[in-house]
């Protein structure tokens, strides 16, 4: 029986409505709201139902603002019914790492030091998200002050016995488990890309200074980056585009115009990719090396120009630089808290902050000088390439909830301040995802995201985590 076209389109629409709404990406959700196929309230309720179903096992949220989100979604729905759309994220719920200020919402940075603290103003990133129509759903768990490697309560939704990584633990886990379509995390060493890779999602950070840090609790203010964590490269581009750009309230903020990252995705072409096998493969375990080789092989087969690239020797200093810079700067920020409530920190973070407070100035300044040299070396390594590709992490997510894993494959790029992105590239043992990291030149976010989107087309996307039961410690 041939279905009449009118009836078919009604059936198609009905079928699309019955797609699990919580599984929509940011881009899909925004598009369907704008087409009035779904309302912001429907989407929010679907996400809240998903949270009710899986949050007791994943524990990604530090504070879920059900009432505030319902109020915002109601306003967005009413505006949409009148054809008013505030921006590209109209009615789309977004989560924030719990170091980002949102007025009236508790911000405790997973520390007893800030217990009960409620900021009175919004971070610039929150202002920009809301101006674009986003609904702030709540705050996501962080490792303490985004500066500790001690695991918070959050579990990896692909396998609950494993860490989701950190410090943006909740952001990665919530997006992977489809409790929210997109979230923001922060990276001072490897805190966006590592958890994103462990949880099988896309994590992106732009060039240092691209996203304002006004209203964000610092870990190390010359190293901190904010960035989107999503289930597609297109979503990462959209969220980055929405919040990036100069902010006079942040003196670190870059003044360079933000490129059209979303538009750049339409100009996908086979990229020139450098692979640093000698450095990274020697430090990764077998399943990571094999997954990376498979992914790179598929990219080459699809037309990418893949070549070996040597790494500069300065990257050998990255761990030492991160330790010196992070602990010096964190000790400075925490000076008052350390003097008045030191016992409220986790013992390991307290010890690092205390030792950080006695690092000789000469060592800190020497670290800054070496970092400049490292930046030059990284820029030189990227010459003639669209991106360098590496495994995102040396292993899949470790089987522990006590620690957050190793940022050793991110530190050098974060120090260099260049844009980086991770996308899922396979599945390892224990049902755990693996990531492919792409690194581009400073202020080259648009071509890097275009390259990442091309790679995503070739490699594919893993879908959402189904969140099974824990098998115990």
């Amino acid at each position: 029986v041939k279905t009449p076209s009118r009836a078919k389109s009604v059936l198609d629409a009905a079928s699309r409505r019955h797609v699990e709404l919580h599984e929509l990406t940011v881009t899909e959700a925004a598009s369907r709201i704008r087409a009035r196929e779904i309302s912001p309230e429907e989407l929010l309720e679907a996400l809240l139902a998903r949270i009710d179903a899986v949050e007791p096992r994943v524990q990604a949220w530090a504070y879920l603002d059900r009432d505030g989100a319902r109020t915002s979604a109601g306003i967005a729905a009413e505006e949409a019914s009148r054809g008013i759309f505030r921006g590209p994220l109209h009615g789309v719920p977004i989560g924030l790492k719990d170091i980002i200020y949102a007025a009236g919402i508790p911000t405790e940075a997973n520390s007893r030091v800030l217990e009960g603290f409620v900021p009175s103003y919004d971070a610039t990133i929150v202002t920009r998200l809301e101006a674009a129509g986003a609904v702030i759903l709540g705050k996501l768990v962080t490792a303490e002050f985004a500066a500790s490697n001690v695991g918070p309560k959050t579990r990896n939704p692909w396998n609950l016995d494993h860490t989701p990584g950190g410090s943006s633990s909740g952001s990665a886990a919530a997006v992977a488990a489809a409790m929210v379509p997109g979230a923001f995390g922060s990276q001072t060493g490897g805190s966006i890309l590592r958890p994103a890779a462990y949880c099988g999602i896309v994590g992106f950070k732009g060039t240092y200074g691209r996203i304002s840090l006004h209203g964000v609790i610092p870990a190390a203010w010359t190293q901190d980056h904010l960035g989107p964590m999503t289930r597609s490269v297109a979503d990462a581009a959209l969220l980055f585009q929405t919040v990036a750009g100069h902010d006079p309230r942040d003196p670190r903020s870059a003044t360079q115009p933000v490129p059209d990252c979303v538009g750049a995705l339409a100009r996908r072409r086979p990229p020139r990719i450098g692979v640093a096998r000698a450095y990274f493969f020697d430090r990764a375990d077998r399943e990571v090396v094999e997954a990376t080789e498979r992914a790179v092989g598929r990219l080459a087969s699809a037309g990418a120009d893949v070549r070996e690239v040597p790494m500069p020797s300065t990257i050998d200093t990255a761990q030492a630089l991160i330790w010196t810079i992070l602990n010096s700067e964190a000790a400075s920020y925490h000076r008052e808290h350390l003097a008045t409530r030191a016992e409220r920190y986790h013992p390991s973070l307290r010890a690092r902050l205390e030792v950080g407070s006695v690092i000789p100035a000469e060592c800190y300044l020497q670290a800054l000088r070496i970092r400049l040299r490292l930046r030059q070396d990284v820029e030189a390594a990227l010459a003639g390439l669209d991106a360098i590709a590496t495994p995102t992490t040396p292993t899949a997510a470790p089987r522990t909830l006590d620690l957050t894993g190793d940022p050793v494959f991110q530190n050098m790029w974060t120090l260099a301040g260049v844009p980086t992105v991770t996308l899922p590239c396979g599945q390892g043992s224990s049902n755990l995802p693996l990531g492919l990291q792409l690194i581009g030149p400073a202020f080259g976010e648009a071509p890097l995201l275009s390259t990442a989107a091309w790679c995503e087309d070739v490699i594919g996307r893993p879908g959402i985590a189904r969140v099974g039961p824990s098998t115990g410690p």
Partner: protein
Amino acid sequence: MTVTPTAEEITCLAELLYEAARVRFGEERAEVLRPTIQQGAEYLAVVSSFRVVPEDEVCLRAPLPDPARAVSVEAEPGTRR
């Protein structure tokens, strides 16, 4: 360029950190900090032993904001519940 510090350099930095911690936090606390001090000394020794000669310090080709100019002006505690 040297990035492999000697044991003597590490010991020297560990003693420096320990003495500073003892003066600042007291002997009992400095003892608690010994493992972190030892780890830190190993990292600081790498930093200290890396030679950066002035001619290396040419400007970056990409105009990154200079983080050395940055000051910590982020979030200050606002209202409390």
